[in-house]
Symmetry: C2
Subunit: 249 residues, 2 copies
């Protein structure tokens, strides 16, 4: 449980990372308490025998992790953990696609239809223009887990509907294999309860809590090309995060 006190140049971890961990350990063990000032960068240079740039890089890492804050001309201070900077991610979604053997994407429906109000608004087209509706369900170990409903702009230049399906292939979307052909997307996570249709598809009861992840994807001209939503049973998904000095020593 002792704290590392010097930098080992032959270690596999680079010097800046070792220094990050040393400082984090010190903070985690209460050597520096919230509000305390860390030793100045020049002192850290001498103490650990590294150059200013290396110390700077370590401090920047602590800044990014929300562990310290800096005041130019004054010093680097230990922050009290606060929920303001906490971030959550979609790692659990990501894992659904990890091994292809256990996961299967089933296409429920593909059809060409006309944009209603909501679709027209999000895809910035006129009501009644043609769109493509795709309904898919992601099956994990035979268990329907994620229901996806997506509206795509109908592009007559594309050779076929099959080509449209490639635009946001579910797998490419999450694994980033370079298959997805959009430039950026906006996402929204909402709390919801399952409708009858959604509950049937996800093999559970209506009115159960669920997450609804809405997305709009844009092409390289910043025009929307797709919008839709993922529905996931609330009992199959939790978002986790930690704050302050978690993991490590």
């Amino acid at each position: 449980m002792n704290i590392q006190t010097k930098i080992y140049r032959q270690a596999s971890d680079p010097a800046y990372l070792q220094l990050v961990n040393i400082l984090k350990s010190n903070i985690g063990q209460g050597v520096y308490l919230p509000g305390d000032r860390l030793p100045s960068e020049s002192k850290l240079c001498k103490q650990y025998g590294v150059s200013p740039m290396t110390v700077r890089r370590s401090i920047n890492a602590l800044l990014d992790q929300g562990i310290v804050s800096t005041v130019q001309g004054s010093g680097t201070y230990v922050k009290a953990p606060d929920l303001g900077g906490v971030t959550f991610n979609l790692d659990q979604f990501h894992e659904l696609f990890r091994d292809k053997e256990r996961t299967r994407v089933k296409i429920l429906e593909v059809l060409i239809n006309r944009a209603d109000d909501a679709t027209a608004k999000r895809l910035k087209i006129r009501v009644g223009e043609r769109t493509i509706l795709i309904r898919r369900v992601l099956v994990r170990d035979g268990d329907p887990t994620l229901y996806h409903r997506e509206h795509l702009i109908y592009d007559p230049h594309l050779p076929s509907v099959e080509a449209e399906l490639e635009v946001t292939s579910l797998h490419g979307l999450f694994v980033g294999t370079g298959e997805s052909k959009f430039k950026r997307g906006d996402l929204e996570i909402k709390a919801a309860v399952l409708s009858k249709e959604e509950a049937d598809i996800l093999n559970t009861m209506p009115m159960q809590p669920a997450f609804r992840l809405e997305h709009v994807f844009y092409d390289f001209n910043d025009n929307p090309v797709s919008w839709g939503r993922f529905i996931c049973r609330g009992d199959r998904l939790t978002f986790t995060a930690s704050v302050g000095l978690s993991g490590l020593k």
Copy 2:
């Protein structure tokens, strides 16, 4: 809509940031497409007249933002946007506390009771040991917005229950004013529907969709000191995030 092509040394933005934005603009406008290799670092040095460390710092920023990936010995490549690395945060929670005039924390109840199974498990104490239950509601513009229910370990060394209340003052928790006295916390977001009690407090109907943010906080010895949950109406909170090249040019 033109892309910046050189670094202005007298600009307020530092060189490395200007280079980040130049590269992001190029990627955003399709100059470099997903899968393409960026110019090598040494070429970027010459092209923009900056030192290797400055280029490196810019590349690292793009790496952190999930926009490129690097392969040692090979090059830096533009990534296709994928949902795997998307993060969202609690900024909306944070804003609730921004101006104290509009926000008020009302304490509904404080009482000393005995740990039940769930509480004993999370606080790592025995069933029946004393704990403190605090129920609070955060009122925004007269509108009950956030319901917090928290179980604290009863510490006979603290002078009073009032002192316990300071341990995780709601305001300090979100704004990070250094009032909170814990070292780290684990958080979980779940989809839920409001119970009768929660709906009454939040001034709406039961069975409405809601977010439940559960937390466990730990002291400097890594012992749990508090667990509880925030409940928020689903129609009052959405988590947003973006993927790929959002904002900017």
